[in-house]
């Protein structure tokens, strides 16, 4: 479902003497449906960069990033948008929404984007928010005013609203208490059970052991500094 072949990435800082900073080289990865692969490596080794490359948020310098039959490294913007709408979900660490939109609508939005009925979408959103222990009195408010932990859970609800065949999870259990953490791990396991291919970053080792089938150390993709 997710396949990376020899992907590399560098940043060129035009406004700082055109310094070229290579950050990744020869990245290979293959994730089958129903499989969860954990990315490991020290801070700054390139875990988030790899996730962003897969999501199309960063532009790959070379290589192939296949999600199904779409090569994100070369696809037109509209193909990537279509992919993100239907196929590829992303739970980031940070919530980025239009201020003022009610939490329930924030969570329901991915479903509406794939053409789901308003009522069905809101029901699903409500049940996810309930599972993640967001008090119902907050559903009508914008999540921008919520605490960090609440925002994180809203973000997860939104990420799991639509059943994406491929998912990217960036620290989904960080800053959650035991109960919510268990709920999130449950969501991940049921996503796997329905056949989602998942790439995740988990600093929480216990969580990592519970949901990941195998690990990839991204340190191996770091360019040789000496070169």
């Amino acid at each position: 479902m997710i396949e990376l072949n020899n992907v590399s990435k560098s940043f060129t800082l035009h406004n700082q003497g055109s310094a070229v900073i290579p950050v990744m080289e020869g990245a290979n990865l293959k994730v089958a449906p129903g499989e969860c692969v954990g990315l490991v490596g020290a801070s700054g080794a390139g875990k988030s960069t790899l996730m962003r490359l897969i999501y199309g948020n960063y532009l790959a310098a070379s290589g192939q990033i296949l999600i199904g039959d779409v090569d994100v490294a070369k696809a037109e913007p509209r193909e990537i948008l279509e992919l993100r709408r239907k196929t590829l979900g992303y739970v980031s660490q940070f919530l980025r929404v239009v201020p003022r939109v009610a939490t329930l609508d924030v969570v329901a939005e991915p479903l509406l984007a794939v053409g789901e009925d308003q009522a069905v979408a809101r029901d699903k959103a409500a049940s996810l928010l309930a599972q993640l222990n967001i008090p119902e009195r907050l559903w009508g408010l914008s999540p921008t005013t919520f605490s960090g932990g609440e925002q994180q859970r809203v973000n997860i609800a939104r990420g799991f609203a639509h059943d994406y065949p491929a998912m990217l999870l960036d620290e989904p259990t960080a800053s959650l208490d035991a109960q919510n953490r268990a709920t999130v791990l449950g969501l991940i396991n049921s996503a796997k059970a329905r056949g989602a291919a998942i790439v995740g970053i988990f600093h929480d080792e216990a969580a990592r052991e519970e949901v990941c089938d195998r690990f990839i150390d991204v340190t191996g993709y770091s360019p040789q500094v000496a070169a």
Partner: protein, 256 residues
């Protein structure tokens, strides 16, 4: 899928000064494209060429019309183009007073496009005007008030209602949130996002506000000195800018 709009090699000069040049892109149904750049970068010139307000020196702006399929709007007759601009197209101006009739009531402003395409039933026109006021969150009892009695944010929402009442398929917006308070901007952005999704609108939004395009636009085009220097997915261009100018633009945004 046929693109809704195919822009080919648009160029507009003002004497020896280049307004915009070498602009080509496709816009597909349901897509929202942002055009960013500083003042004088040619983004407004480009928008006006696309919307038929300015004749480009060269190039094609091919629109997928309902009746005849793709037609070049630059060479089509003026009556056809004007008909297009009050049915399938909409234009939201930065200053509401450029897009509204200030001496005509809110209801009349919304109703004008309906009457322009032949609606001659007062009751129907008024009903739709009231419906649209509701959609842009203006109270029904303001239907007979003139826009001069409205706040800036309300005027802008009225302008949007006036433009969308005929169910256009392509909306051009020139700095739609410019000059509004931040809180009013957020409300307007949310409204626009909802309308874009519900109506399946395609839109081209010119702005210098990167936060606006991040929230509204799927794709981004960055202009400098009349040239397109970078295009791509909005988040990709903003998070991983490739061109020197885009990098400067993104890094110059003040963090709150």
């Amino acid at each position: 899928m046929t693109p809704l709009l195919q822009v080919r090699d648009i160029r507009k000069t003002y004497g020896s000064f280049v307004g915009c040049t070498d602009v080509s892109f496709d816009l597909y149904p349901g897509e929202v494209m942002g055009i960013v750049g500083e003042s004088g970068s040619g983004k407004s010139t480009l928008l006006n060429c696309l919307a038929g307000h300015l004749p480009p020196d060269q190039g094609e702006v091919v629109f997928d019309t309902l009746a005849d399929g793709p037609v070049d709007t630059v060479t089509m007759s003026e009556p056809e183009r004007r008909m297009l601009s009050r049915t399938d197209w909409a234009f939201v101006h930065q200053h509401a007073r450029d897009g509204l009739r200030m001496s005509v009531s809110a209801g009349g402003n919304i109703g004008e496009r309906l009457m322009a395409v032949g609606d001659r039933h007062y009751g129907n026109i008024r009903e739709r005007a009231v419906d649209w006021l509701g959609r842009v969150e203006i109270k029904e009892e303001r239907v007979d008030d003139r826009p001069t009695a409205f706040s800036g944010g309300m005027q802008q929402r009225l302008q949007i209602a006036r433009n969308l009442v005929t169910g256009p398929r392509l909306v051009f917006m020139d700095e739609p949130t410019g000059g509004l308070d931040v809180s009013v901007q957020a409300r307007l952005l949310d409204l626009l996002r909802g309308l874009v999704r519900e109506m399946g609108l395609s839109a081209i939004i010119v702005t210098h506000d990167l936060a606006v395009v991040r929230l509204l636009a799927d794709r981004l085009m960055v202009m400098k000195d009349g040239h397109v220097v970078e295009t791509g997915l909005t988040d990709q261009v903003l998070d991983d800018p490739q061109h020197a100018y885009t990098q400067l633009l993104v890094s110059s945004v003040l963090q709150v």
